[in-house]
Amino acid sequence: MKNSEPVDVLSMDVDDQFEDFTTASDWEQFTARLEQLLSEWLGKPVEPENVTNNWVVIQEKVTFSDFPFNFSYYRRVTTAELNDGSSIMESMEPVNTSPSYPPYILRMLSSEPDFPPCSTPCPVSEFFSLEEFAVLTSTAAEPVHKESRLKLLLSSACIALNNTTCNFPIFIQYHGWNQNYYYGVAESGGVRTAFQMIRLKSVMIPTYLSGLIDVFKSKIGQSLSAPIIITAHFFYNMNAWHEDFTYDSFPPELFDVLKVEHTENSGVSGETDKESTRVSINQWSQFYSQTTIIPFGSMDDPFSSLELVCGWPTLTDDIVVDSSTYTDLEPENSPEWHFSLKLDANADFRLRDVIEGIWNLNTEYVSIKDVLGKSIEDNEDTAQYTSALDRLTADPVSQLPVAGINTVIGSAHRRLLYSPSLYSDLPPISSENIDASLRFLFPDADPNPSLPYPSSFDRVPDLKKDATINFWENLQGVKSAPIGSLVWRLATLIGNLHAYNGGNMAVAHMWTEFVLELRYRLEKSTLICGLERGAPNSNSCLLNQKLQMLNCCIEKKIARAEKENEKNVSEDVEFAEPEQESEDDDEFFDCDDTINSNANEIAVAKFVKPTGRLRKCGRLRLLNTGEPMYIPITQDPAPLTEDVVEEQAKILVELGNDAEGSEMRAKMMSASLLSDMEAFKAANPGAILEDFVRWYSPRDWIESDDIDKFGNKIGELSARMKVPGNLWIDVWSTAQSVPVRRQKRLFDDTREAEKVLHWMGNQTLSDICHLLFPCIVHAAALKVAEEAEKLSLDYQLPVNLPQQVSQLSRCFGHICGSASETNAAKNLVLSSLSRCEGEITQIRSFQHKFPSIDLTKILKAKQEHKETYGPDFLPKHIKIEGGYRSDVGKTIREIFIKEQCVSHLLESENEFKFGKPAKRVFVLKYIPPKSIANESVGYLCLPQRMSCLVKEDLFVSAGTFSLRTDLG
């Protein structure tokens, strides 16, 4: 069998040397398949999709008869190689060193330190210190566990290696899958190598170095002409941090902060605990201390344990003693110290918890009422706001002026959903906490609020680091609510309540109280604080738009009340000023209204008093009467939230694509035209359509140079305005002369306000999740930026995160993405946020424990040598320069001492000993001197290697033993 590739029997030329493969056995077919794959892999260039953590991994399925296997190829690549994309073959060209050893033996000879080990996708590389190999693993129901089978497979591998030019070993996984037990073979360049493992559960053989040296010698021969080179690493574990070293970022309790902020302000709080809470408040956000209450960091230390590794990189068997009675290998003597911190996989991260908690509401399709088991309406009796303020009467009732009106209203408090006199069941949030929450959301109820809303929401925090400034700027496009506004506070508050103060019930309770407060404000004509004024901002989230809408309604209501007031005042006064539009005018006008007709327009106009005038329309005069033309006071179009716009657009679209549809649309849209025409008629008695068009659509009035008797240019309507029956003429003819004050309101604020409140009250928990989520993730992203800013080193925030948050924020609201898209967007953002949270917490914890280590340097070095370490943020093994005697070394010793103190193992610090290592790793190497490398036979002419791992109850040894096959 010299064919390196399988032969296609059918296409073979008859004249060629004929070979018959029809009777090939299963074993031969299997071997041929292995050869085929090996040749394929050898020629394959490095494809980035096959590379993870600097390892090329290719897996193929093979079968031996019916027995399925996975045949996997592993090869470590350098970063340079990855970037070149050069093929494996090219890079495999051997570097010409004296004896032509295969690469795996060359590696044994290299002086590259064994520690720290590089990351690996397969334990084989660690056992045998290999950078290229293949592994055959059974994928059948049972692993390979018969020795005869193992030998059969090894012989297949051996033939396949011989028939190809592969100079790497093939391994067979033997025994249970979880045992990491491998046998391997390599054959190349006249050298055959057996890779063998021993794995013992209960350790029967001597496990001290002296014993291991004996074992090694007994395998390769006693009379060595070179010393055995030994590398030893001892591992010590520390599993319980003393409080001096624990870093927990446990933030203060939400309500402690909210309440203290309040009581402190009203001067009630006791002096004693004031100081301590002061400190905790400072732990909250510095930039948004007035706004952001998103918690951050893990509750417990992010690291569960510390591992100290003491290493002796080069020992020889003649100078070291390690036996049951005496050892040279004490941590204090070790020339190399490393340590690693193990992450606590179960650590709870608060920011992540809050976001995930709110997200989990996504699938809760229960209404608020069902959650609470009681209805909001039950409480909407007339006495709701005016009486039974039992709890609140104790509060200093304040009188505060409300923007825009001069009336004074009482403190914006009203009876709560769970009013003490009414409920028998305990409320999800105590009334005291609800009170604190409401004061946080609606600080204007307080005469001297501790957390007032900022005067404007577009202030930029004072950021210093470029990374955070960029991050901040890129977050501008998020469709949430203005930073620090009411919705922002509500979202973060509910996020906290859900995670730490009562779950779904608390959310439902808080939401209901919030809606009640909104209703109270509407009834009392008190503007909602913490919102941008004006029409709903379609670049903000839906909830913000709805609240802005409600505020528009309240504003309208206040304005109307003012008018009423004025009217009452003006009735007392004998006559109104000429400019002032008073109701008297309207009454006058109404009498004539009915007799107003086109025929006697001019005549009537002389008697009709104009009303609803805003100002003169330039120097224009009415065509028929010559009176100056006035622009009327007009109705503003109704403010709209995005969902309503969308609904209206949908209706408009549904009217169809034809002329009829267009006409219907025009009719629907003509309400504001009619209103304007009526107002114009009222302001300009005797006006005709031509007059209206001159004001409203001047380009439809075609002027000539001639001037009429009133000084107007003579002109005519444009052709399109003259078409009989066009809607402009129609609407004009139906328009009555009515000033806006007496018109039907285009914006029915009472109805719209009711709609918003009804909408708010009918949300399910799932809806609330959607309404708050954009704000929650936005706040979380800013929180992460803020924490990064506070670090003493430069932390690289994920560049894509702002874009991802922005995208996610647009998945909610009226137009939204499909569930799967939203879910994917959310997962992207959440994993990014929690990674940042985890890493920043790790940095804090690390700096707290090892203030003398320059973490920036370590992280930079990690970045540069990223192929050496795994995907963790911190390097797995951190070298301690100066070892035991360095500051860090002393800190580590201190950590171990304190642990033993905690567990009462130690009476005094002087007794301290590192004790028995949890794990010992030895690597024994024999390297033949050059003189005998080419002459002698047996093991002694080739490098040999044995690595051993010794634990309390486990002994694993992996040997690499080579023999020459070409010297006979």
Binding site: S662, R665, A666, S670
Partner: protein, 202 residues
């Protein structure tokens, strides 16, 4: 004729500009290939649909035509939401219509929700005696990163081309339309099924 399921995407296009510059006429010429000098002045907003083939892909256009009168400008911007393309029209025979383009652009930038919306400047009525030169229009478009074309709804010149160019540009703009199939209302009857997938309706 291709059925609706072969449609690549539905795009929302706006037509804005001063009153009487011929916005509705341009649209009518494009959708129905007619010119009606007596077409009434648009009240509020109107709307037309047309399917266009771009590079072998069918693209459905929902074109929103707006009234140009000053008073309607408080009403129409609500409908700018979600538009991927906007055609800003002026009348080459009216200097005033050209000089007042700037506020329209500002309004567009304020109310359009897609930041990378494709904008096109169209100088209409080139069949008439012009007072605004082609060069002036070109300069304005360049200053504001817009597409530019001159056209005449009456003579048909440039109309088809204008819409095609705009749609082409929208299609070429990454991130502007890919997600379109999940956005907004659907124009065909099948829209209800599509909507039930989204989790607002659950």
């Amino acid at each position: 004729m291709a059925s609706s399921d072969e449609i690549l995407t539905t795009l929302k296009i706006l037509i804005i500009g001063q009153s009487g510059v011929g916005k509705s006429s341009l649209l009518l010429r494009f959708t129905d290939d007619i010119f009606d000098p007596d077409q009434p002045a648009t009240i509020g907003v109107d709307f037309k649909v047309k399917t266009l083939s771009i590079d072998g892909n069918l693209v459905k256009l929902a074109i929103w035509d707006t009234a140009g009168q000053e008073r309607f400008r408080t009403l129409t911007p609500s409908y700018y939401r979600g538009a991927q393309g906007a055609i800003l029209v002026y009348d080459v025979s009216s200097r005033a219509s050209f000089e007042r383009l700037e506020p329209w652009l500002q309004e567009l930038n304020t109310y359009a929700t897609k930041s990378n919306i494709v904008k096109m400047l169209v100088g209409n009525k080139i069949d008439k005696d012009r007072v605004v030169t082609r060069e002036e229009g070109l300069q304005f478009a360049r200053r504001h990163s817009m597409l530019f074309i001159e056209a005449s709804a009456k003579s048909k010149e440039g109309v088809q081309c204008a819409f095609e160019e705009l749609v082409q540009k929208v299609i070429q703009t990454p991130g502007l339309w890919e997600s379109d199939n999940r956005q907004g209302f659907s124009l065909q009857r099948g829209g209800e099924e599509a909507a039930s997938e989204s989790w607002c309706s659950c």
